[in-house]
């Protein structure tokens, strides 16, 4: 229909215009996809790297377009290395307690001072790394740094504040139980890694109730040490001025601490594929997570896995979403990812599925996983698009001062080469279809997938059984088995 209309329009133009006029006003051929211009040159930010006398690494990258500074101290190792299993939550609690007052300032005074500087100091401790930092205007960089140093080094950890934060944390944990996506992620981790592996542990009511002020004080002393710290400063600064500011601002931060080791216990033995069903009566959707433990970030297969995942579930038009959302309409969006870290992070595929289509969607998930492992071979076109997408997406990682800070810091946290971004395109390009076929088989082990579904058992159970995909085990919100 569309083409007929075009022909007609063209005929009309020809009949009305003489040839000379036509030559001047060539009607636009909208069917032609405009070709791209020449690829822009990749500008990877440069940086200087020095070591302070206290052992911390100092990285400075200049970016002068706007009067902004990003300042971050990143610590190697996180809750998995520094939290006892029975005290899960002490890292996050300590991070929060840094806002509660120092030897010279109350929590209110710190808050007011930061508000007047127009910024905030954020502390966060994840599984394998933590950080404290801020983004400020260039003129407020030094006064904000002074507050950060005071918080990190001179906090007094008032006991009443601990009780208040404990109360808030317990409310948050209760609310999290009502969030099917949170429950899904927690149970999935527990099934894959078990209680003995830090990847399978989480903060619980019991662990939060057991945290004492002494635990917080001890954590602060053990954790925030320059020997494992990378200080990254990006923005409207110079390396010389930053070094002066940082040496002055962190003068009281004396040499201590080592880089942690990342030894993890052995994984529990892989189980034959199984559906783990968590009953959420009345749920409008089923939260589906499918997967198994995968490789660490330093795997030599990293680039092949990135290309593979881009094809399978990293993008909107990846196989999973194109099928389950766009063609079938079972979901608002599904995806897959490899969760890279120092240990065996999970491969996971999933999404929120309309309850009545849970079985049908699971059939499609399995079809796509089998497909990527070999039944539906990866095409040249898919490989080309995935590689282009990865390579040409690189400049977005340098789009802001905080993005640049992350991009540079992650190289040192993950132990990657300093020319990582310069060689990125080459490494992605080098991935072959044979590599993809191999890593798909190796890391997406169809016989040992855990299929975790949080949904309305009454609606989904019979249909799931009928698919015959895997036997069903019933578990509770904590991931513990319940009777049938």
């Amino acid at each position: 229909m569309k083409q007929q209309k075009k022909v007609l329009a063209l005929a009309l133009v020809i009949s009305l215009a003489n040839l000379a006029a036509l030559a001047q006003q060539q009607p636009l051929d909208r069917t032609k996809v405009p070709p791209p211009g020449p690829s822009p040159v990749l500008h990877v930010p440069t940086w200087t790297k020095t070591q302070l006398s206290n052992g911390a690494i100092l990285i400075v990258s200049e970016r002068h377009g706007l009067p902004l500074v990003s300042f971050t101290i990143t610590f190697l190792g996180g809750a998995n290395q520094f939290e006892p299993a029975a005290k899960r939550g002490v890292a996050a609690m300590t991070a929060s307690m840094l806002t509660e007052g120092t030897t010279t300032k109350t929590g209110d005074q710190i808050s007011d001072a930061l508000q007047l500087l127009g910024t905030n100091v954020n502390t966060g401790i994840g599984g394998e790394e933590g950080s404290i930092g801020f983004v400020s205007t260039a003129k407020n960089f030094e006064p904000t740094l002074a507050i950060l140093a005071d918080m990190m080094l001179n906090s007094t950890f008032p006991a009443e504040a601990l009780e208040r934060l404990r109360g808030r944390t317990l409310v948050n944990l209760t609310q999290a139980k009502d969030q099917p996506t949170v429950v899904g992620a927690q149970v999935f981790a527990k099934i894959l890694y078990g209680n003995a592996h830090p990847y399978g542990q989480r903060v619980t009511e019991t662990s939060v109730k057991g945290i004492t002020r002494d635990d917080v004080v001890a954590f602060q002393k053990a954790y925030f040490q320059p020997g494992r710290a990378i200080i990254t400063v990006v923005g409207d600064v110079t390396p010389a001025s930053v070094k002066t500011s940082v040496e002055k601002g962190l003068a009281a931060w004396t040499k201590a601490g080592d880089k942690p080791s990342f030894d993890y216990p052995k994984l529990p033995e892989l189980q034959p594929a199984k559906i783990y069903l968590v009953d959420k009566p009345g749920a409008a959707q089923s939260v589906v997570n499918i997967g198994l433990p995968g490789p660490p970030r330093n795997t030599p297969d990293y680039f092949a896995l990135q290309v593979l995942n881009t094809i399978l579930g990293g993008q909107f038009q990846s196989r999973l979403n194109a099928n389950i959302r766009e063609q079938k309409g079972y979901s608002y969006g599904v995806n897959s990812n490899f969760n890279y870290g120092k240990g065996p992070g999970a491969f996971r595929a999933g999404g929120s599925i309309f309850s009545a289509k849970t079985d049908a969607a699971l059939v499609e998930f399995m079809k796509e996983l089998k497909g990527i492992v070999g039944e539906k071979p990866i095409t040249d076109e898919e490989v080309k698009t995935a590689k282009e997408s990865l390579i040409q997406g690189l400049p977005q990682r340098f789009a802001s001062v905080s993005a640049i800070s992350n991009a540079i810091t992650s190289l040192y946290v993950q132990g990657l080469p300093e020319d990582y971004y310069q060689t990125y395109a080459k490494n992605v390009s080098a991935v072959t279809k044979e590599d993809l076929a191999r890593v798909a088989k190796q890391y997406i082990d169809l016989n040992h997938l855990a299929i975790v579904i949080v949904g309305d058992r009454a609606t989904v159970e019979a249909a799931l059984k009928a698919t015959g995909i895997a036997p069903i085990t019933y578990i509770d919100l904590e991931g513990n088995p319940v009777g049938n």
Binding site: P36, Q115, L117, T119, S136, Q285, F354
Partner: protein, 473 residues
Amino acid sequence: MNNKRRVLSALALVLTISLSQPLLGQKSSASDSIKIPFETYKLPNGLTVILSVDRTTPTVAVNVWYHVGSKNELPGRTGFAHLFEHVMFTGSGHVPYGLHDKLTEGVGGGNNGSTTNDRTNYFETIPSNYLESALWLESDRMGYLLDTLDIAKLNAQRDVVKNERRQSYDNQPYGRVSEIFSAAMYPKTHPYSWPVIGSMTDLSAASEEDVKAFFRLYYAPNNATLAVVGDFDPAQAKAWIQKYFSDLPKGQPVERPNVALGKLESSKRLVYEDRVQVPRLYIQWPTVGFKHDDDYALSVMSSILSGSRTARLTKALVYDSQAASQVFAFQNSAEDVGVFQVTVIPRPEHSLTELEAAVDQVLQKFISEGPTAEELQKAKSGLELNFLRGLESNLGKANQLIDGAVFYGNPGQFRTDYQKTLAVTAADVKRVANQYLTRSRIVLSVVPKGKKDQASKAAESEAVSVLIRGGRS
């Protein structure tokens, strides 16, 4: 990443600076940094164009806003603006399905859209060498979307929207609060009374012709604004814009609905039972939209009431009495209407009735004394940093400029907003507190299933039925 796509903004939290963020003290240096260089012009077919060059990163943002949102819909035919946000990604006259994604995410960029009560936007972020194809894509769906829109495509996206509703509202604890408020705040025929995502019954009932008529009226160049921001050559961009957009026909003039502000004859108390374990208290007062000057003072007031640990409500409820786990206060404004909302999450052993009284006590004191000079200064101190951080993103800049163009006819409106927010005085804040927080209001308690007695003043509260305006598929 996928889940973020085609996100629906439940209420218009539009990106004018005045709305959400606090601001700054040192006026001179601040106003020096508050700038975005741009040029703007109109094509003969009415398309407004804004160009802003920033060569920091070799990427470009292309952003098209249509001045149509859920408020342009009619009762019984709701959800169309948001449905188009989905349909617009499924191909058009010369663009086969999938190519849009291929020329954006497939080349290292991205695309998305969003819908509010007032406007719909569509955008691409791309490596700068893909600017021409992005303009081609946007022009094709502006001019030729209906060429390939059939009932099958429509049905497929209806299913996706229903899943979006399940994910964002129905399967989300407290996910129905905003639509309960919209329905309670405005009369049934009021254009802000239905949720942006619309009624699933209406969506199911919509005919192909209904939907196409909506598109013809609202998605023409004269109702659209295009911004290109980032690393490009302006002369080349203008030539491409001329090439792809200039022959699209002008549409009918769009009539802007004359929308009455929210006004409650008397206060309402509602209770809604949800699949939650922790109850929550919500209070809303009708205020004004973001084009009204009181919006600046109301926004400043929100930062004085919550957000930092010394903010009035936070200090009293979370730190001093510790009856609440968290408290939030904010002015939520759209083009024509606005509301001021307070949300309280209680600690165990503290009832919503107790918390409502505690909120009122803080507000009464504030209404009678107004803010201190220091409170006012703190509330404004973050503005400059927030503005500068917004400039780091091409898309953020594009949104600022278009927002001004669409709602004020002036892409440079961000500067006015900034100055007017800085100019807010303690007397202004005291006046708006008196004027708006003493009005009739809606108190909504969300409680666990079967626990209506946990509502604030339960005996006086009216139950909200689960089905709101056919809101369930």
